[in-house]
Amino acid sequence: MNTTPPAASSKPGLAVTLARWGLVLLLLYGFLIAIHLMGGSIKSLGKDAAKDLFDGIKNPFAGLSVGILATVLVQSSSTTTSTIVGLVGAAKSVALPLTTAVPMIMGANIGTTITNTIVSIGHIRQGPEFRRAFAAATVHDFFNLLTVALLLPVEMATGVLERTATSLTKLFVTETTHGNFDSPIKTAVKTASKGLEKGLAALGLEGIPLTVVMLVVGIALTFICLVFITKNMRVLISGPLERAMNRTLGKSGLAGILVGMVVTIAVQSSSITTSLLVPMCAAGVLTLANAFPIMLGANIGTTVTGILASQAAETSAGLTIALVHLLFNLVGVAIFFPIPAVRRIPIRLAEGLAARAQRSSLWVVAYVLGVFVILPLVGYLLF
């Protein structure tokens, strides 16, 4: 029997590590270019056409549904939120209205949890193991669903998140940073984005076809850059990630939130963080109560992608919608985390569903189709 020798560790060479970090920076640059390109694409559509396009999702339930469906389709809330940031942050006359975008951001939060659920279905043949895995996956869903159920009506009635985010934006952004002066990074992003736009226009594209191609290229580039940033960062921080996970196994509370937040910011994907928890919960080495705070931290951490994307946006509205995303998740954590009895609500709901799902896989099918496909489709078509 031969095993990995303790002495012969598989540490990568310095050159490989440095190359990976370089690649991540390059991908980050590509990501910002993609966001800027999306903003530019709407501009080339023209004011009236943009208004017509966005009027179709003016209803908050339609917006919420679009957010869920888009995220389910691309399996990445970071791509959805970054796209929304790019569209909201486009030139004022053509931008996606902030009020329309808020429910979409909330929808993206719900849609992202399908990745976990799919991961947990991999355990379906092992009874108790599947129950633990499915509960771990759906506790995130329940938190997001409950937070949306509470905050969307409040937001519709008062616009409190939008107003608070707008005030915060005014604090962070002055005329010098989002007006006449462009940072060197923004200038570099703008130059590359304009170059790409000119290149597409040189192919003979204009008007709506140009808009569509630019939007598709922008979304595809955003997706590709985020996927590869995530892949590389996961390798680059694997050591601390393992240590952090080991330390949080037996702990609950703020430490978990911090770990979830930091890991998600580092890998730029809440799905990666939460998907790591599913096998650990399935094996029973991590309890649902201890996994829950890590998931909350992941929800907060994922909002950094939007804030990052807003740096490439044409206007400060991009930052505002990114801050709405952050505020929404912070408020959700503030509601569901501090009081143990309230914290147990999503945990109990997830455990209850998982127990039923263990007894009959019909529950799994009904839940996944219902929450991630049928409800958003009905919401979109009806409203």
Partner: protein
């Protein structure tokens, strides 16, 4: 200059810790075996070492669980490429944990105050005990150094030792007259088979790190 960068990455750090925990299990295994065997054939009074022996065995059990948890985390973070090493380690920690279990069984025999035979028989057992103790030290070193040659040599010696044990057991079973050895041995094997059946079922009830442990039994008794 870029050490901190390299420390951030690499899949080996978690496994290094797991290897260290396993080596500690081997050390504890040797300690608990020496203590138990000395109580049986070395003249040590069982009550003097009882607390230390049970405490060490408990530590072995806890380390096994910690290793299993570490393996789950390592596999989850680093993915499929690490699975062969993880599967090997899952098996190894089970073996290390069993050394503690069997040593406790030896201690229980010592506590029952049995007569192990004449002076020559006891002397032979003392020599065998010393040999096992050395096996444990050498196994620790072989594993730590990952020395293939030394490991092969040790495996041959252990095989010869096992044959010698089987031979002696065979002789005891064939002793004429009233001979309780066959019944004792049968009961012992029955117990082992039942234990393994219990271990299999524990996979349905217990989480991965607590496989083979029973939910209602205190850890110190497992």
């Amino acid at each position: 200059m870029f050490d901190w960068l390299q420390k951030l990455s690499g899949s080996s750090q978690g496994l290094d810790k797991i290897h260290q925990q396993f080596l500690q299990m081997l050390q504890d295994g040797r300690h608990v075996f020496d203590a138990a065997a000395n109580a049986l054939v070395g003249g040590t009074r069982p009550d003097v070492i009882r607390a230390d022996l049970y405490e060490t065995d408990l530590r072995i059990n806890r380390t096994e669980m910690a290793v299993r948890r570490g393996l789950v985390v390592h596999g989850t973070v680093h993915g499929a490429a690490t699975f062969p090493a993880l599967l090997v380690m899952m098996s190894l920690v089970k073996d290390a944990e069993r050394i503690g279990d069997y040593s406790k069984n030896i201690f229980e025999v010592a506590c029952s105050g049995v007569d192990l035979g004449d002076e020559a028989a006891v002397h032979a057992l003392v020599q065998m005990k010393d040999q096992i103790s050395k096996f444990l030290v050498r196994a620790h070193n072989c594993y730590q150094k990952q020395s293939v040659e030394e490991s092969r040599g040790l495996m041959k010696e252990i095989e010869a030792f096992q044959k010698m044990c089987d031979l002696q057991v065979g002789e005891l079973l064939r002793v004429q007259g009233r001979n309780e050895a066959p019944r004792v041995l049968t009961l012992r094997h029955f117990k082992r088979v039942a234990s393994h059946v219990g271990n299999i079922v524990s996979a349905v009830v217990m989480p991965l790190d607590k496989l083979d442990f029973f939910p209602d039994k205190p850890m110190s008794e497992q």
